[in-house]
């Protein structure tokens, strides 16, 4: 228990460092000493540009990592991730459709949530639990189907909105999205799921065993499923589809000793947030003043990592 708290403390410190790094770096230089008697322009820059973006990066990373951790328990497969399994794709398609149909942001959000739910349902019911290869293949195939639909929707959309849509799809935090939906969802999500962390520990070891140890497996599965889709769709709404956070982060926290979901879930949220903060800061400073989508940076880390997990000795 003590080592778990230590781990959470370290991860929180890492997230705080990521936050400071994000706020401090950028094309306009702000010295640490200037922060205290900052001119109004610097203040504006920090509180209205870098801060909201940094908060969005943190919450998006945290949402994706939590969603991935939950999905892994649900499928009892450590390779599950909302992006790899096409959940983000389905969410994006539904959100794009809602945008093209002229819905306002609430409609688009509801669309993204329904898209995520539908995509999860499709992948899970086609593949069935407990079949690792079939699950991954189904996810990949469904994801590429969503990819084709996205391409179709883009080719049908008006030129003026094309660049913005494309950039959003690639997974970017370079937008003026409000930080509140992400923050609220993350808090609600954690508050809903943390009391059941011990049930998740049991559920991760098989449904029969969980049932024999007093977990009401069916209702538990349905709730995880809904929370999972909600977290992933809010992440998609904030920053498009960013891959591999949900895969790398829970794995990393487990490797650091956070097997217990009471540690793993908050730990994944912190590490996921920190990871995306660093990725986003790199994305806007690497070839400044040009910006890269953060999703690209994540994929550069994520693809080799996923392959390593897939091929390592069992």
């Amino acid at each position: 228990m003590n080592s778990g708290k230590k781990l959470l403390f370290i991860l929180a410190a890492l997230a705080a460092a990521g936050m400071l790094f994000a706020i401090a770096s950028g094309s306009a230089r702000i010295g640490w000493s200037d922060l205290f008697h900052a001119s109004s322009l610097d203040r504006e820059l920090i509180f209205h540009l870098r801060m909201p973006r940094a908060v969005n990066a943190f919450t998006t990373g945290a949402l994706l990592a939590l969603s991935g951790a939950l999905m892994q328990v649900l499928l009892r497969n450590p390779l599950a991730d909302p992006y790899v399994l096409g959940i983000s794709g389905g969410s994006s398609v539904a959100a794009l459709c809602a945008m093209l149909l002229g819905f306002a942001s609430v409609g688009v959000s509801i669309g993204a949530f329904c898209g995520a739910m539908a995509s999860m349902f499709l992948v899970f019911s086609l593949s069935g639990v407990d079949r690792e290869v079939r699950l991954l293949l189904t996810g990949v195939v469904v994801a590429s189907g969503w990819g084709a639909l996205i391409a179709m929707l883009l080719s049908l959309s008006p030129e003026s909105s094309l660049h913005g849509m494309l950039y959003w799809l690639m997974g970017s935090l370079d937008n003026d999205a409000s930080p509140y939906p992400g923050l609220v969802t993350l808090s609600i999500g954690l508050a809903c799921i943390l009391p059941f962390a011990r049930d998740l520990n049991v559920l991760a070891r098989g449904e029969h065993l969980a049932a024999s140890l007093g977990v009401s497996v069916k209702s538990m599965r349905v709730s995880i499923y809904v929370v999972c889709a909600l977290l992933a769709s809010v992440a998609v709404m904030t920053a498009g589809s960013i891959g591999f956070v949900g895969l790398i982060v829970p794995h990393g926290v487990r490797r650091l000793g956070g097997h217990d979901h009471r540690i793993l879930l908050p730990g994944a949220a912190l590490l996921g947030g920190a990871l995306l903060l660093f990725a986003d800061t790199l994305s806007r400073t690497l070839i400044a003043p040009q910006q890269l989508p953060a999703g690209v940076i994540m994929a550069l880390f994520g693809v080799p990592f996923f392959l390593y997990l897939l091929f390592r000795e069992p």
């Binding site: 450590p78 011990r198 520990n201 070891r205 065993l209 024999s212 007093g214 097997h259």
Partner: protein, 255 residues
């Protein structure tokens, strides 16, 4: 007191019947052995008895309450099951694995306490896995994993132990040690065991009641002396079995 009771219980195993209209009553202090050929539906019956898979028809009662009306958590404090195989796809230490046995005993809003941890450590000691509590379960051998699963069940400390082939993967010494341990837990107490066994000799040595599944839904059940006989065993295994007197009662050999 009757712990487990079935009334006219019928359970499917795939296309076949594991049992039809079975009336079984297991009282505290009893140790029941279930025997039958491969695929006869022993595990299906066990899953029904533990409330995991609903039976085709009939009623199952735990301490005279129908399990259909019971909450999972309340059931888990009365009956616990050792499954044929354990899963560990996610890393978890031996201590963490044993600790999940406490799950039904800890109220949802309460933390895992020192007493829980002590119970887990002492169960690991009982099955001979002490000093390894911080190792990952995935590094264990098949037999050690089996003992870890038993430790988890001992931590759960149910009144009714449902064991699906408890001696799977175990060498002879550990088979005997495991069954001795379970026998000690239930002897002169209100606890009971229902276990699936493949070896009639272990059934002879460790059980006082026997349930034989014949394969067509019919069952033979009763006291060991009456049921575990040459002719009955030859009947269920479709192979002649002979017996001889041994130091621990009869022993049975395929002819």
């Amino acid at each position: 007191m009757i712990l487990l009771e079935t009334l006219q219980l019928s359970v499917h195993a795939g296309e076949k019947w594991a049992c039809k209209a079975l009336d079984l009553a297991v009282s505290g202090g009893e140790r029941w052995g279930i025997l039958g050929v491969n695929g006869v539906g022993k595990t299906s019956l066990m899953l029904a008895l533990s409330g995991i898979r609903p039976p085709h028809s009939g009623e199952i009662r735990l301490k005279s309450k129908p399990i259909i009306d019971m909450k999972r958590r309340d059931m888990a404090r009365i009956s616990g099951m050792l499954f044929q195989d354990s899963e560990d796809r996610f890393p978890s230490t031996l201590l963490e694995t044993a600790l999940i046995g406490r799950h039904p005993h800890i109220p949802p809003w309460q933390r895992v306490g020192i007493a829980d941890e002590k119970a887990a450590l002492s169960a690991l000691r009982e099955v001979g896995l002490s000093g390894m509590e911080n190792r990952l379960a995935s590094t264990l051998s098949g037999g050690e994993r089996r003992r870890l699963a038993l430790a988890t069940l001992l931590v759960q400390d149910p009144e009714l132990f449902l064991l699906d082939e408890p001696t799977n993967h175990l060498d002879i010494r550990h088979q005997v040690e495991m069954l001795d341990l379970l026998k000690k837990r239930t002897e002169n107490s209100d606890k009971a065991i229902v276990m699936i066994l493949h070896d009639p000799n272990l059934a002879e040595r460790y059980c006082d009641h026997i349930l034989l599944l014949l394969g067509d839904g019919h069952c033979l059940l009763g006291k060991k002396e009456d049921v575990l006989t040459e002719s009955n065993l030859s009947l269920i295994y479709h192979h002649p079995i002979v017996s001889a007197k041994g130091p621990y009662g009869n022993f049975f050999l395929p002819a």
